[in-house]
Structure formats: structure tokens, C-alpha cells
């Protein structure tokens, strides 16, 4: 599992969902959590972070810059090519999942989710990303 000192970036345009994700992250053991309200602000937070962000948990459907746009931007920048990236989505239509997989997402979580599911998905993500 990720080290609890890992800095986590939680991205969602809905404040309520950010609270739910942040609370679940804290329950899992993370304490260094930053938040952003859309993909553009998340991108700015990645650049501005004084200590490196080690995990991104981002909503998909957001105005301005979606989670998929953010993922593509992150993967096209050499500095973040291996940054663990998890998409949260309210939809699980096959073509969308495929689009995320093609764009380099490490894992995805379909809402609604329990803290236990989040933990399991993060464990999977850690196993998948630790070797690269």
C-alpha cells in the first residue's frame, strides 16, 4: 500500500464529493491531502506543490478541464508519466473505461464507493505502479 506520508491530490468540482474522498483517504491513513476543484486547478496544484504529489484521485466529469483531460496532460509531461492516477466516475460505460485505459489511467472507481473499496483500489494501484 502507499506510504501514509504520500501527498494525495483529490480533484472534484463538487465540494461534497471532495469531502467524502478526503474523509475516506484520512480513514485509510493519509494525512497530506491537497484539493482542487477542476482539472486546470489540479494541474496548477501539481506544478505548485512544494513536496511532490504521489497520487492523484480525480473525478471524471468536471467543467473546464475534465479528469480525462487532466490525465492526458499528466501523461504527456515527462515529469508525471509514472504518477499514480485514479479516476473516479459516476459512469461505467464500456467505451469510457476503454478511453481511460488507453490514456494511461492506473485504476478507476465507479461511484458510489465505500472506504473499503477505495482502499482496495489504491492497494491495486500501488502494486501496479510500484515497479515502474
Amino acid at each position: 500500500m502507499f506510504d501514509p506520508t504520500t501527498k494525495v491530490l483529490v480533484v472534484d468540482d463538487m465540494m461534497t464529493m471532495r469531502k467524502i474522498v478526503v474523509k475516506a483517504c484520512k480513514d485509510i491513513g493519509f494525512s497530506d491531502i491537497v484539493e482542487a476543484a477542476d482539472g486546470q486547478k489540479a494541474w496548477e496544484a501539481l506544478q505548485a506543490a512544494t513536496s511532490p504529489i504521489g497520487l492523484v484521485i480525480s473525478d471524471w466529469n468536471m467543467p473546464n478541464c475534465t479528469g480525462l483531460d487532466l490525465l492526458k496532460r499528466v501523461r504527456s509531461d515527462g515529469r508525471y508519466k509514472t504518477l499514480p492516477f485514479v479516476l473516479l466516475t459516476a459512469e461505467s460505460e464500456g467505451h469510457q473505461v476503454a478511453e481511460a485505459v488507453k490514456s494511461g489511467v492506473d485504476n478507476y472507481i465507479v461511484k458510489p464507493f465505500t472506504p473499503e473499496l477505495l482502499q482496495r483500489k489504491l492497494e491495486e494501484t500501488h502494486k501496479k505502479t510500484i515497479t515502474r
Partner: protein
């Protein structure tokens, strides 16, 4: 790998081995390319023998499903055991591996849809999604009531509503999730663990988010399993002491009431054929 294929009555049937894993991704991709050459509109994976499906093999099948859809073809699964069914559900893959009871059902499901409206087939996914979302995210067990048609003079008490505009080839309309203030505040507490006495701008987006997740789940079922083509939409929130919703549609709204430990609330769905 020990997959066998056959073709009959417009169905490309793939009988899968007991263990599905991506030990040789290149060979898997080549095999799938071969399956895609079939002219059959309906492809069916027979999981009768499957007892292990490693998540590392998901990618191949997700891309296979996507390639089929891009060519207006469909993928279904028969003879799925309960354990793997649970695995797909937990991993959000029920729309990739759509389970059917028989090849006939696969052919029926894949047939083009005609005549779309608000009926049981359309409403039920919203009821199921509302129950699943509130139970998982706010630990609230819902009891749905009987859907009714909203009359022009019906005064349904509400102080906050999440609203999503529905749009697809067949119709336009809206879906509205409506709460009394007291009920909303209790649901908010269930979602976040935070207690609030009044609805403020800080918490009102929860009405939109709950509806967004309900819509997302129902949309997946309707688009992937029932032949609808609902577009993605962003939700908005309406608030007010004596909020009332008026729909500029010739059709009356369908009201679906729910009872919950947090109090009653309801969904309003209105559609008009394009």
C-alpha cells in the same frame, strides 16, 4: 489459452478456458483481432468453464468491447458464475461484460430500439440506482413508493433539488431529485459525517452530486443494456423555502417517492419526444 469459436444465427460464440489471464498479451491481442473479423453483429463469451479472471486481462476485453461498439456490434456474456459476476460488479465492469441468460436474449438485446418513453423499463434503473447510491454512500436503506403522475396543482414540499437535463436521440426532458430541508441535512450528514442546521452554499452541491451518481448508474444500464443513447450531463441545484418545479412539457412528470430513515424525498422525471 484455449478459446474455441463458432458462428451460428448471427452470433459469434467464443467459449472461454477455465482461467483468463494476460500471460501473453501479444497472443491475446492477435486472437481478439481474429474475433473482430467475424461479420456477426452479436458476439457472446461463454464463461461456462471460467473460474478465474485476472484483472490484468481486463484491458484486452475492454478494448474488444470498444472495437465492437465502434462497428455497431455488441458483446454479451453467458454462463457467468456468481463469484466472477461479483468481481465484475466490484470492478465496475458490468457494462463491459453484459450478462444474458441465452443467445436468444443476446440477439433481442442487440436489436435496434424502437419507441422510447417513460415506462417501467426507463424508470426502474433510476429507482435501483437511487437505492444503491444512498445505501452505499450515505448508509440509508430506501423504500421506494408507487410512481404517480404529477398533477398541475400538486404541491410537493421541497427546499432543494438537483436537476439534470436529459438529452438523447429519442427525447429531451429532465430528472429532478427533490428534498425537504430536514431530509437533505440528514442525508448530508450520512454522506460526509458533518452536521449542519441549515442549507448553505457550502453543502448544497450534495443534491447535484447524489443525482449525478444516480444518473450515471441509470444511464449506464439504459445505454449499455436497453439501447438508449442518453448523453452525459452536468447537474445543477435549485434552492428556496417553498421551491416548486414547473415543467414546460406537454407530458406530466412522473413522481417516484422514496421513504428513508432520513425522511421522505422524491424523484421527478419528465420527458418529451424529440
Amino acid at each position: 489459452m484455449n478459446y474455441t469459436t463458432s458462428e451460428k444465427d448471427g452470433v459469434h460464440l467464443i467459449t472461454c478456458p477455465s482461467a483468463i489471464e494476460s500471460a501473453d498479451a501479444g497472443a491475446m491481442d492477435a486472437m481478439v483481432k481474429g474475433w473482430l473479423l467475424s461479420s456477426a453483429k452479436v458476439h457472446v463469451l461463454d464463461f461456462r468453464a471460467v473460474t478465474l479472471f485476472k484483472p490484468t486481462a481486463y484491458r484486452t476485453f475492454v478494448l474488444y468491447n470498444q472495437a465492437l461498439k465502434a462497428n455497431s456490434k455488441s458483446l454479451f456474456v453467458v454462463n457467468l458464475n456468481t463469484e466472477i459476476s461479483r468481481q465484475f460488479k466490484q470492478d465496475g465492469l458490468t457494462s463491459v461484460f453484459v450478462t444474458v441468460a441465452s443467445l436468444d436474449e443476446a440477439l433481442k438485446r442487440a436489436a435496434p430500439k424502437t419507441g422510447v418513453g417513460v415506462d417501467v423499463e426507463f424508470i426502474n434503473p433510476f429507482i435501483a440506482a437511487a437505492r444503491s447510491v444512498l445505501e452505499t454512500q450515505a448508509q440509508l436503506v430506501l423504500t421506494p413508493g408507487k410512481p404517480t403522475l404529477k398533477k398541475p396543482d400538486d404541491k410537493l414540499p421541497m427546499e432543494i433539488a438537483g436537476v439534470i437535463a436529459l438529452s438523447c436521440k429519442e427525447f429531451t426532458g429532465s430528472i429532478n431529485l427533490c428534498f425537504r430541508g430536514e431530509t437533505f441535512l440528514k442525508i448530508y450528514e450520512g454522506l460526509t459525517g458533518e452536521k449542519h442546521d441549515t442549507i448553505t452554499t457550502e453543502i448544497e452541491d450534495a443534491a447535484a452530486e447524489i443525482l449525478n451518481i444516480i444518473f450515471g448508474q441509470a444511464k449506464t444500464v439504459l445505454n449499455d443494456h436497453k439501447g438508449y443513447t442518453l448523453d452525459r450531463a452536468l447537474p445543477t441545484v435549485l434552492t428556496g423555502d417553498r421551491l416548486r418545479l414547473y415543467h414546460s412539457s406537454k407530458n406530466p412528470a412522473i413522481v417516484i417517492p422514496f421513504d428513508s430513515p432520513a425522511g421522505p424525498f422524491h424523484l421527478e422525471i419528465v420527458v418529451e419526444k424529440s
